[in-house]
Amino acid sequence: MALFGPRLDRPTALGDEGRPRATSLTVASLLVFVTLIVATTCPWAYSLQFGGSLVPTLIVPACASLGQFALGLMTLTGLVTAGLALLNRERFASLFIGQIIFMPPGTALVGGLGALLFLRPAYGVFFTGFALALVALGSTWTDTTSAESVRPALFQEALTYVAILLWVVLGALVYLAVLLVRGTVASSGQPTFSLAMFLAFVFTSAALSRIGLRWLPIRQLAPRNRRATVDWALRKVRRLNTVVLLASLAGIGVTVALTLVGLLPILYRLVPVLPTVFGLLVSEPVVVAVFGVGLLTLFLGLIALALRRMTRPVEATGNRLLAPFVAGLVLTLGMLPFTFSLLPIPLPIPVVLLVVLFGPIVLYLVGGTFVIAEYLSILPARAGGPALAAGGLVVATVGAALIGLPGPVVVATAVVAMLVWDVSAFGLGVTAELGHIPETRRLELFHAVVGLGLGVAVVLVVGLLDLARTALAGDRAAVLAGALAVLGVLVLLLGVRGYVGGEAVD
């Protein structure tokens, strides 16, 4: 069932090994969504005591808070989920967009939750649980909740991270080189040095143009009747380029030789205007013009190369290696300045640097933990998504209790955790037995309604118990009594389970 827009899951998701049936998953998703909205926007949020400066800007005790942290959390988890799905594709465009929408939101999610866990642990636990549940449910929709799906995404993410570092280092080196050259030219003021530098610029620009021309489809775009003319023109341009390359190289050699022999000073005396002309050769407009030709040709060539790669038949391995490096360049050029533009927000620079530098690594570790957990069978292989979603909600329940949300809300979150597991696991069972084609909505809805009815009853009963607890007994006594009661029920249930199980097998 496509909720909106293009499908993110592959057709294999509709097989017997795919995601749960749509009705069950819709019910589970709605439950989590409603719980998150209710838990973060209801009137009791007014009475919450926020001590720090971070949380109040994120959780506004009004309906507007939906547009703050909860919506932000859902947006980030949605982007991460979509990115995860796209990173399992094979086309360059999908992989590239997957990189763009997976790593930055993932890093922001990890960084934000990490900061929250550090600054306000209770809120951190609460929102981490919900983030886990949302990502798990989202990736269950896209059928990417398995080690086989997460592993390639992590590999891609690592490559992108390395690419970003490489691009940053390269950019820094180029910047340093420019600074160095400018400083040297400005400080030396020698015409000979200026001439040599100019020739070096010409050589570099010609070399860049040569590379760019190689990739540009000039001949292919020319009309067929003008191919011969274009071929002739291209040959001429290449010849000219070769001449410029060789001439600039020879010019550097001659300049060095004349300098060593000592003829240049004589030449400067004979032609007094030469030092001035050579000085002008390394002025900014000239350098920009000379370099501009090379860089522009190279840039256009790179665009042509990228377009060719995007339109070429799918070559998965090549695309998986190339996409991270291109995405790394785009992220370096676009996202890093964007990130640093956020600095006016009262966040310390070290924190931002830590998030940008180590966020991707933490994201990688989180994904790696999931993969290892599935390999160790801690998470069920076919029901990893529902299990993770339920686990996340269990964590969120703990967080809700630690925050101090009202008892019914805490209990309702626990109920939703159980319901998400129940409904999703049921949908998976139906999928495994019947596939996705037969009509099963009535069956799924009946199961969901029974589970929900039980949940409502439990919330009511436990709510009454909570009322009795707070009214009749002291807080400490009630906690002790409750702990003993739970322990007793657990022990009793273990016995009952053996009895019922034995009877069922018989």
């Binding site: 009202p406 008892g407 589970g451 409750g482 657990l490």
Partner: protein, 440 residues
Amino acid sequence: MTEAVTTQGSTRWHGAVAAAILFAAVGVVARSGALLLAAIVPLAYLAYGLASDPVEATLTVTRHVDPDLAPPGTPVHVTLTVTNDGERGLSDVRVVDAVPEDLAVMRGSPRVGTTLEPGESTTVEYVVVARRGVHDFAPPHVRVRSLGGASVTTRRPTVSGGAELVCRLDAEAPPLDDQGSQFVGQLTTSDPGEGLTFHSTREYRRGDDANRIDWRTYAKRGELATVNYERRLAATVVLVVDARRVSRAVPGPGRPTAVELSAYAATHAVRDLLQAGHEVGVAVVGTDGDGPAGLHWLPPAGGEDQRARAFDAFEMAADATAGAPDIDRQFAELLGLVPPGAQLAMFSPMLDDRPATAVETWRSQGFPGVVLSPDVITDNTVGGQFEALQRHTRLARCQATGARVMDWRRGTPLPLALEYTFAADKRLPGQRQSGVGGSP
């Protein structure tokens, strides 16, 4: 009701215990009463899952197979109805019908999952494509779960109604009687004579049959005239079934091969031609038979015996697994065996050039030719579309020689395909070949 019952328990709620322990532990450490109370939630769901009663279900299952006798390639509708005859509602009933292994579901699904109130029924409807043979439907798998899912009962209830699908080359469905006389061997001449179709009137001659007198002319003009009909001749028709390895292709799993479809069409052609009084010969190309060059060859003859022999030959063609030693020689030998003036009818999916070349050769030798080509190519891939294009080109090549070409598209019943072809022929009468030894 004889049925197999198995029951098993569910392990779905084991994780709930861990959640309860976590809530309790954190609740005690953090002294949170709400969290301790929340520990009751997983335990409640655990209890709900464990305490459900084992299911006692009384189910009646009926199956209807329509048609239960069908030729290859025919869509067969199967309807399975499961009724809850018990007094308790069933919260989770999952039914999977046992589709015979050799058949593939073309439309619908043989599975369903639903709830059933007392007296309520659920119906599974799906369509399979008939393949030659007798296909038994085993009892369906019916799985009933308790409310919490702790108890699962799997049954194989006995089924009333249709239990098998018989697919034969000479199956009567779909009826071909109306179209049979039009298929091949309808040899009309330009000479008037006795027949069924009006040709002309002429002056009455002494001795003319009284039932040929044109009484309307007599009433108008008072002159006796005799009606001439298109004279029909008994013809000799040789049916050539292409059973080569390349022609044993299927459009998908569980579908009949192109050879099966060709054999089915040829079976009906034999029946209709023999009924019309024509002599029919059969040649199976592409298998290693006992005729010249490995052909399976039945010389043209009439009568019921010939029909039985032809049917055996077609069955052999449909079942063949071995190939022929020399296909080109078989086609060459065939021309030597066919009596002068005979018509040749080729039944081939036209998946390569050989059948088209053979038809061109026949036409160049002056034999009237008919081509019936079952379409087994799927065109949902580029390769499939290319193959389909090549096949259409081959059919066009045959048509260009003057042979009558019938493209039997997948999913179209044979009579309908024939009807389309003859309707097209009527619109283009100039292209229709006629007469014994009609010119190419």
